[in-house]
Assembly symmetry: D3
Homo-oligomer: 323 residues x 6
């Protein structure tokens, strides 16, 4: 391999790509959907590609039939193309792709698992340290331990959502950790049951780990579509709680209430609305953290020269881009 070849072979991790950059490197395809343009006239491929550094939307506009046969979600491809910009975010325009094969020395499949954009193990450790520090009730402590054993590893990699907010590896952990911190800041202000709140926050969205898959393809599961993450979170709580002898029933019911009421209103999918101050606070802080994540993403994506963004569906408004 000559120097020129070597230069071309320089790794191009997703997190470091620049708009305008010519791409010639390996990525895992997380999702591939054949779509028609809105006019219905042409087909194209809509992809999400990932590596351990991040994820990126990508498009195939040409040779659609041929590349559709080649590309399958979950596999790794050597992809050629160019980074373009769409609504203030980078997007990969793919011109060619071939499967990674044995000649692609030095590339291992595990190099292409999306990794959280932070030290996930450290944040996981910090999260459970917080819990150990603040939870005194022995049943809740054991519940927290069982949670860590059963869901810790999954939590470290899980998305916070398929889209809208915290939609990236580690997003669920980041959101959960953020909630714990907010709870510790707010609960003493009102003399609320801090321990109940912390455990409620720990479980409230854990059902998202079974609501959809991100590996190999991003896909809603049968349980995810028919039950939704709120119900699955409840079932995970029940499963772990049943493993702890003599877990007090009233305590169990109160935690379940925090889980099932955390969407705040029936029309947002909570079968019961908050009936305790703790349940109300969990709902409001969850709302706060998810909405501010959307603000933050929108502000990052905002085009410099505009004063206000386009209408944002999740926030129900255009937002001010000029910070």
């Amino acid at each position: 391999m000559n120097l020129f070849e070597k230069a071309k072979e320089a790794a191009q991790p997703i997190a470091g790509l620049q708009v305008g950059e010519v791409v010639n490197w390996y990525y895992r395809v997380q999702e591939v959907v054949r779509r028609k343009t809105l006019s219905g006239k042409k087909d194209y491929l809509d992809l999400i590609v990932v590596d351990r550094s991040g994820r990126l939307t990508a498009k195939v506009w040409d040779n659609v039939d041929q590349l559709h046969k080649v590309i399958q979600a979950g596999n790794i491809y050597r992809i050629s193309g160019e980074v373009t910009e769409y609504r203030g975010k980078p997007q990969l325009k793919i011109s060619r792709a071939r499967p990674m094969d044995s000649s692609d020395s030095g590339c291992r499949p595990e190099d292409f698992d999306e990794l959280p954009p932070f030290d996930s193990a450290a944040l996981l450790e910090e999260t459970f340290s917080l819990l150990r520090e603040h939870v005194r009730d022995p049943f809740l402590l054991r519940l927290s331990d069982r949670f860590r054993e059963a869901y810790g590893p999954v939590l470290g990699q899980a998305y916070g959502a398929q889209k809208i907010h915290h939609a990236f590896a580690g997003g669920l952990l980041q959101h959960t950790h953020s909630l714990l911190k907010l709870i510790l800041a707010v609960a003493p202000h009102y003399g609320l049951d801090k321990e109940l709140l912390l455990i409620g926050a720990l479980f409230h969205d854990i059902g998202k780990t079974a609501e959809f898959k991100t590996q190999p393809a991003l896909e809603t599961t049968l349980a995810g579509g028919l039950l939704g993450h709120l119900v699955i979170s409840l079932e995970i709580f029940l499963e772990l709680k049943n493993q702890i002898p003599d877990f007090p029933e009233p305590l169990s019911i109160r935690i379940q209430h925090l889980i099932v009421s955390h969407h705040g209103e029936k029309e947002f999918g909570s079968p019961e609305v908050p009936k305790t101050p703790e349940a109300y606070v969990l709902h409001l802080l969850d709302l706060l953290d998810s909405r501010l994540n959307i603000f933050s993403e929108q502000l990052k994506a905002g085009e410099a020269q505009k004063l206000f963004s386009d209408f944002n569906q999740a926030l129900g408004t255009r937002i001010l881009l000029d910070k």
Copy 2:
């Protein structure tokens, strides 16, 4: 005891009381609440009394302080008063009450449990016969058997709701049985999965048996208030399903979907809306049966001389009383 006394002692079961009748007999008090009149000026007692033949609302307007000390929910009293009429329904105006004591020979406490207004054992038997006749899947059959063992006796006595519809002993069984019959009439018309529908209907409202108590007082439970019957129904299903080895997970998820989506819309407390034809049909037939029960109650209570009822909250309209 002379003959006259004896005549006075003639039993006066609730089901047989007439407006205008003077009452002097034994009843169990199911609920007693001290209220103020809307003006806030006077106190009165608001009661529900039951015996095995039925239930009746009752009021104490005089001697409120004294009778409030005497009457406790769950006990049996010898009650004197008169049957009056309120909005087309009978109501007992209580003038005196004393606890049943040992001198009240021939009255046993169990004589005052409200009994369904039909042969509950026979309807229960018919219900499970229907299931045995139409369910072929071995897992669903075992689930049906387990249900009968665990909840059959309770189901036979349970209310269908605290108010609005099927609010009487046996009401839940009557509603469930009615749903099974409707399903058997409608499912073949559309080629739907009859067995799944029958099992979904069996479980859909079973959580009502733990949502509130009718003995001794009518009262929402902790789980009932914080979780609601839909979530409790789901948990009862999970508990029974876990007792059956190798119960197929996809089948389990589909039944859970029928349970959690049976209110039809998120704003009515379903965390997910119906995503299968079976779930949609269960929702609609459940709605049909409960609403027609309200129509039927309203038509029975309607005053003869009026053409239209007052506004009915549950139906969202005044209804035609002239049949």
Copy 3:
């Protein structure tokens, strides 16, 4: 004409077309609309073509100006193109079209009227047999007879809607017949007035026959747009009722109530909501039948490899495709 030519001339009825098939045959154009792509950049033609076996959406992407001059709704054309797939449904991509002329021997215009996908005459007969069997009231019997004389032939060919559900020739008859069967299954269960319900179902959507035209083009009429099918159904009832001497006014009003309340809620276009059990049942069974038709269409159209459909506007949810 050589054999190859002859093979090309083999009839290609719409109901038998396969995705990928090259088309070279005669169809009637039911609708043709010139549209711009959503980008506004290009024009295309959006068509519906029919023959007696069915109907199909079609597009013209090329030679738009020239073909727009040639193609007029209501006429029959020899069309060349290819069957493609869009959102799981077949679609005809038209490359060429010329009017059918005298040289097209053996093709008669009436061969291109869309026919119901079932024996319409038999279903019509069965429908009115049901009515004769179950209706005993002499006024209702005469109303049913007048209906058959006046609207029977139209009903046999009418669409159930312009889109959403039962949108094909015979759809209205199929929906009406289905409702009658459901009524006969449900009415006895609740002791409802079966005859009133059957007549209400017969008339409830008959206004659709005047709400829009399907021949030659699919088009909303003046009365359809300004009054809607519910009001037109009412007017058709009044017109036929007025032809029957001494028709009892209270009976007339009750039937009118079934018609005007069948959408169930004011916000769905019913000027009054159901105030009798019969009106409520007609509304709910109408909802059941139309929604299950949408489920059924969606399940047929669903792409095999997906677990859940895209969001369906009419059902308000994505649905499970895996039966």
Copy 4:
């Protein structure tokens, strides 16, 4: 009869009653309903009494059983009592009542029909003069004439509603006349079809004359409850239109559209919303006139010393009482 008796016999027409006045005179009872107080403890009678000068709410608090047997809606009684004030409006507290009999010389039943609080015949004449002056289309002219023949006398006496706005004899005429004047002021400003608007306004609420009765008792009719005034107005239009040979169908449909869309939104009972500028204007002016009538009534009833009224359901707000 001595002078004192004679003084006592001085007529006390309703329109002239003052708060605090002792009443001893003849009135027709338009409505009598036995109610319980909200506490459910006591019964009372809720009445409306009328004479040709106006109408007044009245109550019977004492001797309820006895007076309930005596008083029947539709008859005329000699009533004793006192005028009190309730929420800023006068109210008659009845202590005694006896039927008018032959000894009550000089009182004829027709003296007790409520009369409009203005010269109804003159306003009727003015209304149809306006129409004759502004309507040129021969079909619309004949329709206006037919309307006057068939509904003129009724219109002159009819209520505008059972409650909320224009709820008095002549109210419908006053509202209709007001609308015609507004139309003549607004239509030229926008170049709208004045004649169509005038005829639409004439018919829009005429169904109220059959929606409820005010003689002898105020009562919703069967058609009123099951169809509502909007549908009845439509049917009255159809009936009169059918009496005019060759009435153009498109013109008929446009007028029908004005009638059925005049509530403006489906949720307010219009099966179709306004699709022409004329329909939109009729809706908005109808809204304007009815709401301003409510403002006006509320301002008249307002207690002098308060700045804002209580919450008014129809206006959706408290209103400023300080003019």
Copy 5:
């Protein structure tokens, strides 16, 4: 004055009254409204009485006419009666009242101004210390100073609302101070503009000081009813801002945005919804603090023996009373 008299003269401040206590002491009447019972049958007086220790609802059931002439809002009366309980809260049943006069030695009017239930001066000082500590921008600092000069004294006594939440002297200060603390806990978590948030919180509800009066009577003002506190807060901001030369316009607009958007949604009275993260956070923390105040009040008022409260309008649910 003998000893017995003296004992009777022992001060009975409102904050120390017990249910069942016989009252014979001086209070200021803040509000007096003559009402009818819901049955309309009887009149009573509905009062709020205050002294420096607190406020209490009170009723006059007897001698209504006579006492209505005696009692005027804003004056101080020697009141006799008894403390009763209504929905878990104490209520004063007044039997007699006479104006305080010169013989009532030792009672000065200012003794009857309601005082905050905490050291208002200290909390005010702490509030502005917080601002001085955390606000660095010179314009915002001057604004904070101007605010203190102009509204500090008023803020220390103002109610947070007429009802629902923080409805007591000092309530507005308590709510404002609580918000500042929450902002300081939450703003750093998300890197938000802390200074902007603090100033926005300071002004957001200051309009409540002009929306209604609490002295002498509790009463909505003309500006309060026609503009509302949100608009008045905005106008107060504009007035103070205009007193500071060269106040930057963009900064002014951002603060105005926090004020006008703090109700979060248009339907709750915000003419614009939050378009910056700071505005969203202010809205959510305001919601959190007011709702938790309602929870807290409801929990204090809750009757011990009930598991769930009655339906609470402001929270949209019954709440759990068992802490």
Copy 6:
């Protein structure tokens, strides 16, 4: 310059352009936005061009990169292209563009300011004549004078909105003038305060002059996005009112009420709803005038051969195109 050149140089004002016309003339670019087609595949430029005769949407489909560098909002260009039709409205398809330069003799920048499509000075004069004729209150007269001085010139050129209704130079004046005329027609009919209404109408939308800019680019301002025109109108009123000594506060509050309540409902951005008849009338007439302007625009744009328009978002319906 030869004759052919001269012919080409003939002025082509926007108001006179015909569909199909080849364009080669000078226009000012009011807005230019680079967009992607909905498929995301291609970029194009979306422009609004103006001259003194009117405004027109325009597109650049080819040479997008090059023309994007050339064209800046606010400048004047010599533009070549063709007038096409889109949804019944003309649209300019731009093929080439170059900046106007010194060689373009005879073209002055001010020739390209959009002018109202009517004599703006005359309508302004008529508007203030109306006010002088009908306003007698000296404070309101001075307010009207101050308004004319401060906002008269701006009002004559201002748009009534960025889109939806009255979206053209002079639109705000036209709408305001129309409202004054309607008020003069309607106020006497109900005996309302005409002067208050006229002044309220004058100010109600004046905030639109600061909500967005039309020169050089059409753009929402910081205040427009964060406060909205209703709040800005209020602030303009306060500013002018403060310049008039002794302006009565109650009068000021009533005018402010008309401004802040003119959207009629909270959900449409009014922080308070109308609480006086005048405020209600201003709201309804404002609605009438804006909606009829939309009807009128839609009817002008409607394609001749269609009976009904597409769904119109602002009117919430398809409308009848056949006048």
